[in-house]
């Protein structure tokens, strides 16, 4: 018996150690392009390139939410029907034969995006359109489109503001929908989009400072449009050439250090301050923590005390139950006291409330009101008559 208890203690300690190292148990990616139309080909190519990368690093389609507002592959203007390329060498067809677009066309709206993040969706919305992340999930949110100071345009029709996004992430945190979140955005004045974030454990990075444009990298002379944006291009270059497998030990610090302003033509930004452990800690997160897929399993740990753990939840519930019981007792006391004092204070406690319901407008005092009305009309007409008589005299 003693042996068994000691063994259990050791096991609990082990679990505790795992929990403290703050490992996540799943990876989710939300990849959003917000612009449609042929000349915005590059925004869809940006997203599709990233889609390809996260899939390569192991995140399954079921954990990727891909939002594409337009269908470039089938646009009649596409010289290469059925394909999307993000490079003029056209080596990799991003549209390929294994692609799962979860939100397409006019489904890509601000409302749908926020509903997706906060999981305020109808029950009948299929799993493919839901972000099924939990408190153990690392979430990558990548957005691209046309934006400005603290907004990002959705489809020429509406825009999402920096505060909208900040509040959506806060709700995600409150609903325990992420463990750590990496927010990436490639648009003009991108860095303004994450200025208002206030929820913990978010690392944010954007392509350009306020009042700066983000530029496209290069155009394909046969497709006839720009095929990728600069910042995304160089992020991808890092991911494709350096992060070759899920076992890569390169960390976010390496990724962000690879930004080269002379190549990107704008000043990319990084925000660490929301992250537990600030920059030192954040830099150590590996790239595959967000872009790859982990297979860690967390067994619920009875001793864990961090937010979101079972123990904390149980303690909270116990506290609530206690509170309610106390309230019930107090109420019972009051009732008991009322019973004893009924003889002289019943009217105080048990007086029936006055009936609330429709009442007749003219129920009481109708004659009085009529009289007042008549008097007012009389006085008015008297003034009018007097006025006209006097007026005639002086005239």
């Amino acid at each position: 018996m003693a042996l068994l208890s000691r063994f259990l203690q050791a096991f609990a300690l082990l679990l505790l150690a795992i929990a403290v190292s703050a490992e996540h148990t799943s990876n989710w990616a939300v990849l959003v392009s917000t612009s449609r139309f042929w000349f915005n080909y590059r925004h869809l190519a940006n997203v599709l390139s990233l889609y390809r990368t996260v899939k390569r690093l192991g995140i399954p389609d079921s954990q990727i939410i891909l939002m594409l507002p337009d269908d470039m592959a089938c646009n009649p203007r596409n010289a290469f029907p059925g394909t999307v390329y993000s490079n003029a060498d056209r080596a990799v067809d991003l549209y390929g034969d294994n692609i799962e677009v979860d939100y397409r066309g006019y489904e890509v709206t601000v409302e749908n995006f926020i509903r997706l993040l906060t999981d305020r969706l109808d029950e009948d919305v299929p799993r493919s359109k839901r972000l099924g992340s939990d408190s153990g999930s690392n979430v990558l949110v990548y957005m691209t489109g046309h934006g400005g100071d603290q907004f990002l345009k959705f489809q020429d029709a509406e825009e999402i503001g920096a505060w909208d996004l900040a509040h959506a992430f806060e709700q995600m945190w409150e609903k325990k929908r992420y463990h750590e979140l990496l927010f990436m955005i490639d648009t003009c004045q991108a860095n303004t989009m994450y200025t208002h974030f206030y929820s913990p454990n978010i690392i944010a990075t954007g392509s350009s400072e306020i009042d700066q444009s983000s530029y496209s990298h290069h155009a394909d002379n046969d497709v006839g449009v720009a095929v990728i944006d600069r910042w995304t291009y160089y992020v991808l270059e890092f991911l494709e050439t350096q992060v070759t497998s899920v076992t890569s030990k390169l960390n976010l610090g390496d990724l962000f250090d690879s930004y080269d302003e002379s190549k990107i033509h704008s000043q990319p930004g990084v925000r660490w301050d929301l992250f537990t452990g600030q920059e030192q800690e954040g830099r150590l997160r590996t790239v595959v923590d967000f872009f790859g897929n982990v297979q860690n399993v967390e067994v619920e740990n009875a001793n864990a005390t961090e937010p979101g753990s079972l123990k904390e939840d149980l303690a909270e519930i116990a506290r609530l139950v206690e509170k309610w019981q106390k309230r019930d007792e107090e109420y019972a006391d009051v009732l008991a006291r009322n019973d004893t004092d009924e003889s002289h204070s019943s009217s105080l406690h048990l007086k029936p409330k006055s009936k609330v319901g429709p009442t007749k407008m003219t129920e009481d005092g109708s004659w009085g009101k009529r009289l007042v009305g008549l008097a007012v009309v009389g006085v008015c007409s008297a003034i009018w008559i007097a006025g006209s008589v006097l007026g005639r005299k002086s005239g």
């Binding site: 042929w38 009649p76 203007r77 010289a79 155009a219 002379n221």
Partner: protein, 627 residues
Amino acid sequence: MPAAIRNLRSNPHFLFVRLPKLLSLLCIVVGVAWLLLLPLNEYSRRTYISENALLPGQVHAYFTGSEQNIFRGYKKELEGILNDETKDRAEVTAGYVSRGGHAEQLLILDRVSDKVQSIFEEAGLKFARQKYEYNSAGITHQGENSYAIIHAPRGDATEAIVLVAPWLTADDKLNLNGVTLALTLARYFKRWSLWSKDIIFLITPDSKTGTQAWIDAYHDMHPASVQPLPLKSGALQGALVIEYPLEHRFQTLHIVYDGVNGQLPNLDLFNTAVSIAGGQMGIGANLQEMWNHDDSYENRLQTMVRGMTKQGLGYATGAHSSFMPYHIDAITLQTKGEGWEDEMALGRTIESLCRSLNNLLEHLHQSFFFYLLMQSNRFVSIGTYLPSAMLLAGNFTIMAIALWMRTGYYPETKSVQTKGEKAPAEEKAKTSNIAERKLALPLSLVVGLHLLGLVPLWVFNNVSHQYFTTITFVVLGVDIILPLSLAAILSNGLGLSKPLIPQQYHLIKSFSLLLLGLSLSTLATLNFSLSFMIGLLCTPLSFMTRLQGAAPARLATSGLGLALLNLLSPPTVLLGVCWYTGVSVETVLTEAAFGWDVWGMWTQVVVWCVWWPAWLIGGVLLGSSIF
């Protein structure tokens, strides 16, 4: 200072006689100076592409190599037929140009049309023809359009682009290279699968009538003499006209953009053409026949004035002009000069332009529709130039309002003649009296003269062209006699009525100027240049008045004034301009009548129903001082 202002305010002569004149003069001077400032860097802007979708010059144009052999083959085939039919090509074109008063025999004969049809059909396009006939000024214009459609292989056939190749260019030269290029491009475009819009290839017999007949029929707005179209596509988004009448390599592209009634295509289309020709293909782009534009102030002004002249006259400057009334943006690309560029370079330019238009998601609308270009990369927009014509038009309105107020005072002439001599109090008492305006005669005279304008309008658009010169001189005679006789009748009554009192002269002038100002300021928003030109020619009318004073001086002044005024009458201006440019009056008027009958040109209406009546009334007022 306040005292001085108060004195001026209580001085009716200053308020109603001198101040309006000063204001009017100021408006005219500022209006003209404004226009002269526009070419400066501070007032004009560099052009830019507004529409994101256009992406000019981003695609590689592949129209080279073997396509050139196809071009040569087609050209030889067409040339053979043309030579067979008409031993001498010059003879045919000359036959077309000379207007013998008979039905014009257009050069496009059935065999050529058949050849064009077989080439289009071999390339896999749907082909159709359309016959049309127009009658204007006793001349019959007839011809047959042929056109073919490439249906966008993956598009939805709701939109289309038009490529036009007229057999005769706007200068009546044979456009064999242009037509051949269109045929080659049709074959080449057919093999691309990336069209989002249908492409229509239209081969018209000439640049004046063909496109008009076709576009009218396309929108079911054609007269009975024009056949309906058997084959149609979607809404037209843009049109390009190809003109390559040269037999050698060319140097630059001349972009013609003026439409009928001064309508212009969206500036984005022009900018795209300049950007593709200059930037991508390395071919220079010119406008308004300015071959050696050195970007100096003088050259910019000259370009602008040339553009304004075309806009003001409102005639069609090429086959593209007919598209404008239907809100289809169109330009003509003309090859000019001797240089290194061949038909393949022009073909690539058109290919790239078509790809840009193909990228459009909606009708061109981002950029300006009202602009004045002064260099291929510099323009002023309506907000900057409009005040100029508005000030000119405003000068008439100011004068008209001042005269109206002046006629309300009684006794008007005395207070004018004896100003300052009477005590201010007495004068005030007088001016506060409100005089009754005798409106009947001034109103009917002004309305009558404006209605009279319908007579020359009808005559010039309905008689045969050989009488035009005679009628012009008749109108010139009428311009001399009519004001004088009207003045005589009005001044003396001639037993018909009482002689006019000064108030009525003022009222006549007031109404006339009011109408003129109103019409011109309205016109300025539609056709700035026409409004500005008419406004400038009418400026003396603000200052025409019945002269007073001693007989000899008065007679001499008014006689001289009338002579000068006659120099600014519509027929004299017409004759003067024709003499200066060396074009015969008959040609101009035939063209004008053709414009009225076929293109729906409104310039004559403005001349005969706005300018002429206002001028006549100016003449009557000045003439009345003789009697």
